[in-house]
C-alpha cells in the first residue's frame, strides 16, 4: 500500500507542476511511464485493481498511450547484458517470491506483463513491438503520433532515425 501511495504522491506532484502547465501552454508532454505502470505494478503487488484505478482518477487521460511490449526473456537478456545487478523493487524482491534476483524478476515482471495485456484493451493502449530494431520502432512511433497529433510540415520532415 505505501509503495502504491508514495508513487501516487510523486505522480500527483509531477502532474500538477510538470504536466498540466505545459499542456495549458499548448505543448506536447512526453511521459516516460504513466498511471498504467502503477496499474500493472501495484496490482501485481496485491493492491486492489479497482482501488488503484480510482486512486489515479485525478490523472489527465493521455491523448495517446504507447505500450512497448516485449517478452520477459528479451527483457531479462537486455537488462543483464547492460548491468550486473537488477534493482530490488524492479525485481519484486520485496514480495519474497524468490531469493534469486533474476528468478524473482522473471516471476514478478512476467505477472506485470500479464497485467499490461489487460490494460491494452481497457485503456486502448497502442502496442509497439519492442523486439524490433530501434529504427523500426521509432518509425512506427512517429507514424502513430503523426496520425493522432497535428504536427506541422516542418516538424514532420525531421524523420532521421535516432
Amino acid at each position: 500500500m505505501t509503495f502504491s501511495l508514495l508513487h501516487a504522491t510523486d505522480f500527483a506532484d509531477r502532474l500538477l507542476y510538470k504536466i498540466i502547465p505545459p499542456l495549458k501552454a499548448g505543448m506536447i508532454v512526453l511521459a516516460d511511464r504513466y498511471a498504467y505502470t502503477a496499474f500493472a505494478r501495484d496490482v501485481t503487488r496485491g493492491v486492489d485493481r479497482q482501488w488503484v484505478r480510482e486512486l489515479y482518477s485525478f490523472a489527465v487521460r493521455p491523448d495517446l498511450a504507447l505500450y512497448f511490449r516485449v517478452p520477459i526473456d528479451v527483457s531479462v537478456d537486455r537488462l543483464l547484458a547492460r548491468r550486473v545487478k537488477l534493482k530490488f523493487y524492479e525485481a519484486g524482491m520485496d514480495l519474497g517470491w524468490s531469493t534469486n534476483p533474476v528468478e524473482s524478476f522473471r516471476m514478478f515482471q512476467g505477472k506485470v506483463l500479464d497485467e499490461y495485456d489487460h490494460l491494452v484493451n481497457e485503456f486502448g493502449l497502442e502496442v509497439i513491438d519492442a523486439k524490433a530494431s530501434i529504427t523500426d520502432q521509432q518509425r512506427l512511433v512517429r507514424n502513430v503520433i503523426a496520425q493522432r497529433v497535428q504536427i506541422t510540415e516542418m516538424e514532420l520532415s525531421d524523420d532521421e532515425p535516432v
Partner: protein, 268 residues
C-alpha cells in the same frame, strides 16, 4: 414451526451479536481493503478518538490508556504522522512551499497506510487495544474543507479498517479558540492559513475550524460517531469514555471466547 414468541432464540442471537455494540462495524474494511491482508476475526480492539485541534484528545487518550492498563489490557497508541516511513518526509514537505492539496492528502494517506500495516493490524492480531489519536476522519475533514472530491477520498481510504468505536469530541469554535490561545497559540496549518482566507490568523482560525467542525458533524451518522460533548471538564468526559469502553469490552466477549494465545486482552 417458528413461533414468534420463541424464548430460546433471544440468548443465542444475543451471544452472536456480541460485537454489535460497537456499531456492527467490527473487523471489516470500509472499502476495497487490502487484498493481501484479509481480516480475520482478530482478538484486538480498535478505538478511535476524533476531534479537531486542541479539543483535548491526547489528555483523554492518556487517561484512557492508564485506566485500561490497570485493568489488564495491553494498549498501543497510534496517531497521524507518527509512521517511521513518513514522518521525516511530511515534516520536510510541510516546511517547503511545494505541497498542494492533492499531494498533502496522499502523503497523509501513505502515513496512515504504513501505520495500519505495521502497527495497527499487528496489534489487533496480538490482541491489543489500539487507541488511535485521530483516524481517517480528520484526513477526510481537512481534505473536504480544501475542496478535494469526497467520493475520491472515501475510495482512497477504502483500505482503512472500520474501528470498533469512534468517539468524536465535539466542541464549538468559541470554546476552542479560548483553549488554543490559553495553551500553545494558533499555528499555521491548524488555522488553515494555506487556504488564504486572509492574513489575520485569528479570523482564519475561526473560519477554518468552523468549516472543519461542520465537516466532522456531517460524517457523524455515516461513520457511527459516538458524539461526546467536549466542552465539559476533563473528568466528566473521561467518565463518559470509560463507561462506553467498559460496556463495549464487556459485550465483546469473555476471555473464554478467544483463542488461548490472546492473553493481552483478558481482563484480570
Amino acid at each position: 414451526m417458528t413461533s414468534p414468541s420463541e424464548p430460546q432464540q433471544a440468548p443465542d442471537s444475543g451471544a452472536d451479536d456480541g460485537g454489535a455494540n460497537g456499531g456492527g462495524l467490527t473487523g471489516r474494511y470500509y472499502g476495497r481493503g487490502i487484498p493481501y491482508l484479509p481480516l480475520e476475526s482478530y482478538p484486538g480492539k480498535l478505538i478511535a478518538i476524533e476531534g479537531t485541534d486542541g479539543v483535548g484528545r491526547s489528555t483523554q487518550i492518556q487517561l484512557l490508556r492508564e485506566w485500561l492498563e490497570v485493568r489488564g489490557y495491553g494498549v498501543i497508541e497510534t496517531g497521524w504522522t507518527r509512521s517511521m516511513l513518513m514522518q521525516p518526509t511530511i515534516e520536510l514537505a510541510k516546511s517547503s512551499n511545494t505541497l498542494n492539496k492533492l499531494t498533502f492528502v496522499l502523503l497523509y494517506a501513505t502515513d496512515f497506510a504504513d501505520r495500519l500495516e505495521k502497527e495497527i493490524i499487528p496489534a489487533l492480531k496480538a490482541g491489543f487495544v489500539v487507541l488511535s489519536d485521530r483516524y481517517i476522519f480528520t484526513a477526510l475533514a481537512r481534505a473536504g474543507v480544501r475542496g478535494v472530491d469526497r467520493q475520491w477520498l472515501r475510495n482512497l481510504y477504502g483500505f482503512a479498517i472500520a474501528p470498533h468505536m469512534v468517539f468524536y469530541l465535539n466542541v464549538d469554535v468559541k470554546t476552542l479558540i479560548g483553549r488554543v490561545l490559553a495553551s500553545r497559540g494558533m499555528d499555521f496549518w491548524e488555522s488553515g492559513m494555506d487556504l488564504k482566507h486572509g492574513d489575520d490568523i485569528y479570523d482564519s482560525f475561526r473560519a477554518y475550524q468552523n468549516k472543519l467542525l461542520r465537516e466532522y458533524s456531517s460524517m457523524a451518522d455515516e461513520f457511527h460517531f459516538k458524539v461526546v460533548d467536549a466542552r465539559r471538564p476533563v473528568d466528566r468526559i473521561q467518565d463518559e469514555l470509560r463507561k462506553n469502553v467498559a460496556a463495549f469490552l464487556e459485550s465483546a466477549g469473555r476471555p473464554a471466547d478467544r483463542p488461548a494465545d490472546t492473553l493481552a486482552l483478558q481482563p484480570r
